[in-house]
Amino acid sequence: MNLVSDRKYAVVMLLLSIVFCISALSLDADFDPVNEKFYPFVLSILLILSSVALFIWPSTHSTTWPNWQNLQRIALTFTAILVYSFVLHPVGFILSASVLMAICMWVFEAQRKWIAPVSIVTSITFYIVFDRLLGLNLPAGLLDFF
């Protein structure tokens, strides 16, 4: 019976709750229930209590963390989306989304020959549907001549 995992999580939860608690206490207000400080403080106490409770009464949950290869896939996807959010505006939607889609397809083991055409077609389709048809703004970026 694996009770250790939950206890480890409980410790992490406790640390986070304490950080939240300190953060709440540092708010610049009186300690009146009607003010801004009381409620978050109470929440942080409840979080601390639940962390302790989980430590005392852990469940038999066991986690299967991804293997190294899949962890790399996740890291790559994470980074790709991260970079995307920074380059979206300067580079434009169609180019950024094509690259992001291509990376995602590669990470999900798509067949090589499909990656480029599908990414490009999808990005262009989305651009037309969202930006032109629905009127929601997607940045044009480098392809500003549209």
């Binding site: 409620y39 989980l54 949950h61 996807t77 959010s85 999900f108 929601l136 997607l138």
Partner: protein, 501 residues
């Protein structure tokens, strides 16, 4: 009164309007399937387009009704098939809907969703017509203290989301409440910023749709990645039959009825909407099913309850709109904007001055529901085929759609970063056994709970007795206690029965 209703129907059923309803439902369904786009956003997105056609107010209203019901069903579709809810109220449908899809019973889940939505919607329209004046009185008696207790009551629904550990569900929910505190505090005079750590974009708080998409859609992508192996074939359970058996419908009938009433009552209260309704309905049905239920692992009743409550709460929230002129939920707020633009002023005078509009609205709700079933039940087989699309297309599509969905929300790249962070948080939570639904409930209710708590205390000059004085609060506390104690009582009763045999 019924001749007014038939008059409303005759207005609603012109050739053009029927055409519009079908188009509305169809468009709504497709847009609703996109991650993060629920009925509110769907109406908001299609609003300018609808205006361009210069339809009569009645026709535009019917079109919107179609979009509304279509997008709500679209949300259910993506919840069931992809485990990606379009909006917070659809999050509850994921819980039993997605396991059903994974077991090859996607067709039944989708069919049940359509049937439950339709039944809940239609029944609630009757409730609307019959009880509008009575219930508006009830809604007025709800003050901040009553709202606070109501939300505490909704939180007891958390006991349903505790597959492994009730404590984890509680932590999840309070985490949601905590996230909701980020941003400028609305009740303070100085506009104090809380937990923004100097980041200006956080002043408006964290948009719950960003969290929903991050915690469900993006984490789903990461989850799939974490389980990939070089020899894994795309194993999808073969599609089962699509229609529901009579027995399945019979088993769910009582639940649908109960959830309809629950959802309707919750919807009547201004500020309480589809999310609370679906949580409470799910909780009730799970408790009623007791040991015999398979909730959480693929019980059709777990899909029927939130879908019925969802729909009926939308109808219920029309009561405060019509009677008080106050929108009952986020969705009705958009409807209000739409109605005003169309030249209708909802409010107490609507029933007397513009009866055409009111009965037209009632009729359009009924028709919207009907068209939903007509259009979508046959399509269930086609929709379920979406599951057969290979992962290397589906998952990247979900990723891109989520990213687009979040970006067009506020045009903010910062939201994309938030979505990503919550994607990781959601991934970790799912891996370590922390349920996601309570997080969403906490986030959605967070602002309201705090505001009502502080307001109630302000009005009562610090007297905590305000939280248990009025008959409404007492009733709600009783319901809360019952909800917590019920499973034990039911088990004891059953054990007693068995001992006697």
């Amino acid at each position: 009164m019924f001749d007014m209703l038939t008059h409303g129907f005759s207005v609603a059923l012109s050739g053009l309007n029927i055409f519009l309803v079908f188009i509305g439902v169809f468009l709504g369904t497709i847009i609703g399937m996109l991650p993060g786009i629920g009925p509110i956003n769907a109406i908001a997105i299609l609003f300018p387009i609808v205006l361009q056609f210069e339809l009569s107010p009645a026709s535009a209203l019917i079109f919107f009704a179609g979009i509304f019901y279509g997008s709500q069903y679209g949300n259910s579709i993506s919840s069931i098939l992809l485990n990606v809810p379009g909006t917070s109220s659809a999050a509850v449908t994921c819980i039993d809907g997605n396991p059903l899809a994974k077991q090859g019973r996607a067709g039944q889940a989708l069919a049940m969703s359509a049937v439950a939505s339709f039944s809940g919607g239609v029944l609630s329209i009757f409730l609307l017509i019959l009880f509008a004046p009575l219930l508006s009185k009830l809604a007025i008696d709800f003050g901040p203290a009553e709202y606070f207790v109501l939300m505490v009551c909704a939180f007891t629904a958390l006991t349903s989301f505790s597959h492994g550990s009730f404590i984890k569900a509680v932590f999840s929910a309070i985490l949601g409440l905590a996230i909701a505190t980020v941003g400028i505090d609305e009740l303070s005079f100085g506009g104090m910023r809380r937990f923004t750590f100097g980041v200006e974009e956080l002043s408006d708080g964290i948009d719950f749709i960003v969290v929903v998409i991050g915690v469900f859609a993006i984490s789903e992508v990461f989850l799939f990645l974490s389980e990939m192996s070089s020899d894994s074939v795309q194993k999808v359970a073969p599609l089962n039959r699509v229609l529901l058996t009579l027995k399945e419908m019979k088993d769910s009938a009582a639940g649908i009825l109960r959830s309809c009433v629950t959802g309707f009552l919750v919807g009547v209260l201004p500020g309480a909407g589809a999310t609370i309704a679906s949580f409470l309905a799910y909780n009730t049905e799970k408790k009623m099913a007791g040991e015999k239920g398979n909730f959480g692992k693929g019980d059709l009743r777990g899909v029927a309850a939130p879908e019925s409550a969802n729909n009926s709460s939308a109808v219920g929230s029309f009561i405060p709109l019509l009677v008080l002129g106050v929108p009952g939920s986020e969705t009705t707020a958009v409807m209000l904007a739409a109605l005003i633009t169309l030249g209708v002023t909802p409010g107490p005078t609507m029933l007397t001055d513009q009866p055409d509009m009111f009965w037209g609205v009632a009729a359009s709700m009924f028709i919207g529901n009907l068209v939903l079933i007509i259009l979508n039940l046959p399509m269930v087989r086609i929709l379920a085929k979406i599951l057969l699309v290979p992962r290397w297309v589906l998952m990247p599509l979900i990723a891109i759609l989520s990213i687009v969905g979040v970006y067009v929300l506020n045009g903010s790249e910062f939201d994309l970063l938030l979505m990503l962070i919550f994607g990781i948080i959601g991934f970790i939570m799912r891996k370590t056994g922390f349920p996601l639904a309570p997080l969403i409930l906490g986030l959605v209710l967070g602002g309201l709970i705090e505001v009502n708590f502080r307001r109630a205390l302000t009005y009562s000059y610090g007297e905590y007795s305000t939280f248990y004085e009025s008959p409404i609060t007492i009733t709600l506390w009783a319901l809360t206690a019952f909800s917590l104690v019920a499973p034990f009582l039911i088990r004891k009763l059953k054990a007693g029965k068995q001992a006697r045999q």
